[in-house]
Symmetry: C2
Subunit: 338 residues, 2 copies
């Protein structure tokens, strides 16, 4: 039996998740059975979707139960695997959640080769966030050469991949990010234009960066950024919707007027496509293409990535709150152990 | 030279179009030149999209100019065609608009065969409204056998075709209409369920009629009907948006709260597709399939249609105002001459 330290959902948050919502506790794990492995967590992925799992609103995935361990992908080291599918010391992608050790079915695990790519990339550019960018942009956004693709949270793991893949497909990539440092980084990544949503002249900056309007808006933020982007959509524009992080902590609807009718009239007048998705919908069909394309793009420098690695399990909750506010810079990963 | 009586757009309406916005005037048409034909209007089609053309808001089609004749499809008789592409007495589908005579390029005209189908069907079930239903439902809605398709304004030319085509594809068709007489007619047409949006228990009726939720909502109405339908959409639901007639006369946004963020969060959580369209986008590619399928469905009784024929040019403006309020029953056509 192995002791684990973990974060459990003690109650459903109202607004920003507090330390009373997310409680750290000690627990003892059962010994792994055949078909299972005992794993030590090395890295924990933190992603905006986790805020949704804290809520019991109807969604594509069931919520975390009250008292349950917060879910999340991990890079872990195999400690014990009774049936021998993995050897002690193997590094695997798992789903142990916010805890220092876990026992997981071996069928959920994927062996990682530290020689091929840094293992943390399995949580980011070569993992779920990368697939979200790849599938949403190419299957729903379908950018054509010369078209304008706009993405917000553009220094994040999804947004940065969206912009760089758009450029690989010959489209013009415009990134939106918060603050001059992130905007400068987007230019380094090769975005054709970058706009600061915290600047007082954000709307004017966006207009200047999209002189021919917007053909694809990859939506992962919502709120004020959406309000600025949406009126600039071109006829036959596409809006893949993969997240709305700006609203995840919202506790009530904003004041009116009610713009639902206005939004629908724009959808009608401009023949827009608005399409919500989650990458798992495409994962089976596109997994091979994704791994091949994305690792090729990383190898030849077409796609660069950045990681924001926070050290220590004690910082998990603060790091997650920062993520929801756009405080991190690059793919957010918590390093739990060496 | 031939005299015509016509309705011109004297000023852009604010709200419901008044007789001061839409002014009847006499005019004299020039003689037709080679490549043109002088036509006498027999039937004028009235359709909700015409309200959009009275406004200068950005749209898929340019607005009618101030002082210009209101646009619209017509069934007309050829009076004179100098180059002989049509013979005097030929019946054609044209676009002469709201007037008793017109001079039109012959390239715009399509000869109709009164032996094959009543000529008014070229304005309805075998014309633009029928194509709107066919293309929007099959290309965007993509109903699968056993799925639930909901359509509002279901006794109208678009809605009645949507429901009947859905049934031809093996889906369950639920129609929404205003008042018991229209609801009864939907049952006659073979809709699996029919709901009265004017009934005080409309929301409960809709829930009872869609026990398995809604997979496709063909949106042509907006407003309160949308508000009732949208929360019942199933995961991976599709919403082709072809019109929002309930809001066409609206002069300002309704009071809040602002539900745009809520709508987008539903799109995300349920992986919904919301797609605006106009039938012309599909017309070239689907024209042959449409004519063949739809005339076959009419011939074998799969698709029935109903026309609401108002008599006399003097009634054009009142009939159009009634259309925007849901006052007509079936495809609205004004008979201008025998």
């Amino acid at each position: 039996m192995t002791d684990t330290t973990r974060v459990v959902l003690a109650q459903r948050p109202h607004g920003e998740p507090t330390d009373s919502d997310l409680v750290v506790e000690q627990a003892t794990l059962p010994d792994p059975q055949p078909g299972q492995a005992l794993l030590q967590t090395l890295y924990l992925s933190l992603d905006p979707y986790m805020r949704g799992r804290m809520s019991d609103a109807k969604s594509y995935a069931p919520p975390v139960e009250i008292g349950g361990t917060m879910v999340g992908a991990t890079v872990s080291r195999v400690i014990d695997c009774p049936a021998g599918e993995f050897a002690p010391g193997d590094i695997v992608l798992g789903y142990g959640g916010w805890q220092t050790y876990s026992v997981e079915p071996t069928s959920y695990l994927r062996r990682l080769d530290p020689e091929q790519a840094p293992v943390t990339t399995a949580l980011g550019v070569l993992g779920m966030p990368g697939m979200t960018a790849y599938a949403g942009l190419l299957e729903i956004g379908r950018p054509q050469a010369g078209e304008t693709v706009v993405v917000a949270a553009a220094t994040g793991p999804v947004g940065s991949a969206v912009g760089q893949i758009a450029r690989a497909k010959g489209a013009r990539a415009v990134g939106i990010a918060g603050g001059p440092e992130k905007v400068a980084y987007l230019r380094e990544l090769g975005f054709d234009a970058a706009v600061d949503h915290r600047a007082p002249d954000f709307v004017e900056q966006l207009a200047a960066a999209t002189p021919d309007g917007i053909d694809v808006y990859f939506e992962n933020v919502g709120g004020a950024v959406f309000d600025a982007v949406f009126p600039r959509m071109n006829t036959f524009g596409r809006i893949p919707v993969c997240g709305l992080v700006s609203g995840y902590n919202a506790t009530e609807l904003p004041d009116g007027p009610d713009r639902v009718g206005w939004l629908m009239s724009q959808v009608l007048r401009k023949s827009l496509t608005v399409r919500g998705f989650i990458q798992s919908e495409f994962a089976d069909r596109l997994a091979d293409d994704f791994q091949q394309d994305m690792s090729g793009w990383i190898a030849d420098g077409t796609v660069k990535y950045r990681e924001d690695i926070v050290d220590g399990f004690d910082n998990v909750r603060d790091a997650f709150r920062g993520l929801l506010k756009g405080g991190n810079f690059g793919k957010l990963v918590v390093k739990i152990a060496d």
